[in-house]
Point group: C2
């Protein structure tokens, strides 16, 4: 058996997503081998995170400011809300430099195999937001997989109930750039045909 402080850290690392016993052991012994400086650096980075990062009370993204930089940016269009599952998705959309509206981070998706977790999602916060007069369009920007589709369907119904006049959109489905027609699945090809665009 490992000494208790080693066992404890293995257990704590094991709570991170997809980290099992063996991976957690590797992390702990890597840190032990690299010495106190690296352990201290990680502990300090965690403390700083805990001390300074908070939830933006408007979009529920994590930020060192509340409201966050995007929500407090006067140049942003305030009548469009893009709903994403996680903070990381905001980064992806922002990198494109093609969206100038606001965001709402749901903090996850509805998981068909664990439907109780739905209470942890920022759904009521979204519905409260769209009940106001300011919002005109909600973009549901989830991955088009099973959990993403379930979440979008659920949100669409809830949003319609709460504010029937709102425009609800989702990201276009179709063929990805560089793909080969021959290997496209039926649903993707069907979507691409149905949503065909003019090519003059």
């Amino acid at each position: 058996m490992y000494p208790l402080p080693i066992q404890n850290l293995i257990k704590t690392f094991g709570k991170l997503p997809s980290v099992g016993q063996r991976t957690a052991e590797r992390y702990v012994f890597h840190l032990l081998k690299s010495g106190k400086k690296d352990v201290g650096e990680l502990a300090l980075a965690l403390k700083n995170l805990s001390d300074t990062v908070k939830s933006c009370q408007i979009c529920w993204d994590f930020s060192d400011k509340n409201p966050c930089n995007i929500c407090s940016d006067k140049k942003r269009i305030r009548n469009t809300v893009c709903v994403v599952s996680d903070s990381q998705n905001i980064q992806i959309i922002e990198k494109m430099n093609k969206y100038n509206g606001l965001y709402h981070v749901l903090r996850g998706v509805i998981k068909t195999d664990n439907p109780e977790k739905i209470k942890d999602l920022k759904i009521n916060e979204l519905l409260r937001k769209i009940k106001g007069l300011e919002i005109k369009e909600v973009i549901l920007a989830f991955s088009p997989d099973l959990n993403g589709e379930t979440t979008m369907m659920f949100l669409k119904n809830k949003i319609k109930e709460a504010n029937p006049n709102l425009k609800i959109t989702r990201l276009a489905r179709g063929l990805p750039t560089g793909s080969d027609l021959q290997y496209a699945d039926e649903i993707t090809l069907g979507d691409a045909l149905k949503n065909r665009t003019e090519n003059n």
Copy 2:
């Protein structure tokens, strides 16, 4: 761009073995979503590790005692040293309950693609130990892969130089239990034939 404390923690997690940018991001946002308690727990476990775990100055394993439990155990046979690459290997051997000698943790192996790292290994500490009169046998218990074989060959020569009368052994090679002859590789099968045992 993420806020600075998030970026910092992503960078720090990224120093763990096999953790890239995406995995580090997942860890950080998982912690943010689970809340301050989990972040604090991990920071505390790291602090405890740093405060209490030290290197045993005899075998170089990590322990909360110096010398460690094994090195200070009077019931252990003190003339046999089993050399392993990492602390985790001690656990594997101890679990069998079939070895009652001492250990020496080399803290890694000689990597053929990064030979400079050899100076971080506890090789001189091993040589100093075996120069005494007490040690009679050194077991080289490394994995029989490229780096393991290189390390064993290197150590064997160094040990012979330092103490020519020492018995140097290595773990037996052969067919693993449950394997199929048909799929055994040539080297393994050759070793199994060469080191065949009597079966009366």
